[in-house]
Symmetry: C2
Amino acid sequence: MGKRATIQDIAQKSGYSKTAVSFAFNAPEKISAEARDRILCIARELGYSPDPMARNFSKGRHMAIGFLLPQNPDKALGNPYTQAVIAAIAEVCQENGYVLSIIPPFRSSIPEAVKNAPVDGLITMGLYVDRNIRDALRGRCLPVVSIDGLEEDGFPSVGIDDEAAGYLQMNKVLGHGHRDIAVVSLPKTAYGKSKSDVTRRREAGYERALAEAGMSLSSILMVESSASYSGGKEAADRILSDHKPSCIVTMADIAALGVISSLSSRGISIPEDVSVVGFDGIEHTAGPVLSTIVQSASEKGRLSASMLFSAIGDDSLVTERKHIGFAFQEGATLRRIYGY
Amino acid sequence: MGKRATIQDIAQKSGYSKTAVSFAFNAPEKISAEARDRILCIARELGYSPDPMARNFSKGRHMAIGFLLPQNPDKALGNPYTQAVIAAIAEVCQENGYVLSIIPPFRSSIPEAVKNAPVDGLITMGLYVDRNIRDALRGRCLPVVSIDGLEEDGFPSVGIDDEAAGYLQMNKVLGHGHRDIAVVSLPKTAYGKSKSDVTRRREAGYERALAEAGMSLSSILMVESSASYSGGKEAADRILSDHKPSCIVTMADIAALGVISSLSSRGISIPEDVSVVGFDGIEHTAGPVLSTIVQSASEKGRLSASMLFSAIGDDSLVTERKHIGFAFQEGATLRRIYGY
DNA sequence: GGCAGTTACTAAACCGGTCAAGTAAAATCT
DNA sequence: AGATTTTACTTGACCGGTTTAGTAACTGCC
């Protein structure tokens, strides 16, 4: 790895000043065509192109935005829905000439990750913002957009109306005649501990739907699991060690796939013996189409990234929660109980 | 967005020098406990933490490595296998205190993306390195590791023995009695035009397997498609407009899923009517287990990232191709033709 | 011919840290 | 007690660009 030529080298060799070289690359109109040609020619000869670090430093911009992982990459990126959101964000980054950085916790610390992230803005997803994280974010003076975050966090946020979505999900299940229901919910640790996080909002929706059917939350079995394939499997095992419900409702498609895998391996057929309902709307899973709540990953990603870039651009950021749409997808994994 | 405090501000307010402040943060042993406490206290008060850009600039490191996308994010990240590799790379990045940047083409130009990428090293995957890209890479003086690249590119490379894998894949198909075979291969544009790229190596393996069965490459239908769900669907459509083969072999699982979707929607059952074989070994697809060649995404990602970090560390990089293992996965989508 | 405006360029400040070299005072050694 | 080492800190160069403020030469105008 030889060392690179610097703007100085080009200036010297061409007989022009550093400024002239800079102009040759960035502001052709501020320099004569003759000088420009000469400089660019010598630059090509020496294999010079402006150092992105130095350029970014002097411009005060990183030309990168960050996607802050609330957990280790294997966990956080193990969810296809998260990956789909990231893909959408990456798309918007490209349109803006930016790069997307995946920011994992730094030595197990999210605040440290925030302090060191070489980015101009951050997108969080499913992050519970505690005091330390908040301080780190404030300390960076960076625009932040949260996906599935809390309004109370004070950041602009993108998400769905989780209460309504929870209601719709449970309402569909009840409408199909199910009464013996188990729910695979999300872990408190990763998605927040405060009262109005995603899980709580969805649970509120469940409660409302159940109430309309004369039931209550306490009448269903509720287990926590990470939003992952293995988490879903384990959750199913725990549920089945209790009893076999007629429907298992999950808060993440990837967990639903794990549930399905666990059921299948026990010879339990879906949806005949046990129905399964997911949440998210991940794609390309082959097999039976999952009955699930669909919330567009690309819409979530694109909208959050757009909001972030407009904040980076004009320095004004609304602290508002924007809702995107959602819908129930009739799949093959939810059975209608006849005679109900 | 107020402006951040600088090291100067802390120095002034605390009565110490910039260096002392720097030491307080980075080299506690070079400063008295008293001074350290005082400085850190004032820093906390003013919400100061060292600016990562300035720190990186003066250290000459970005603390980021890049994953160079050969196509737009939606295409490149639409493949679950790619995402799994990225997740594995991100894992290694975390262990090294680095960040992983997704580098899309910059205004449709990969060389421009390379020139501007704020990273200390690059990993490419399935990239065809033309002259311009090579020059850009050389110009950056960055360590590069290629996944599924060419030996001729001169970069250290990670991949499987694609000839052997192609042979194994086709051999299994032939061994199951299939003779009417269609292949969904990868696009030349994205994966290379030169003779010994991934596609060509696998084709060579096909040819060898076919030859052993007294057949040749020309006796099978070969269509190109992008390594994507929709690409697989379209490829299946093109194949079926020709005739209905007994087995469709693909070079990417995600394309196989697209093929399956196309077949299913026509009422063609798998594997009874048409068998499908994939390549990669993506996970969590629910549905029938795909018969496929499994090459560990996490091994590929981890190995390539490890190689890159060792190059970043000690400045010595072998220009060697490392092979990881692969295996055939007996799934439910490949039918044995009895009486053969 | 003198003045304003334009063109083409340059010198030097600046971004915010790190770090090598240097200094003064205190501690240790002989 | 004087020489040496150690401790605790500071000064200032440096990373490689961008950008502001300027200058000198040239152009156009009356």
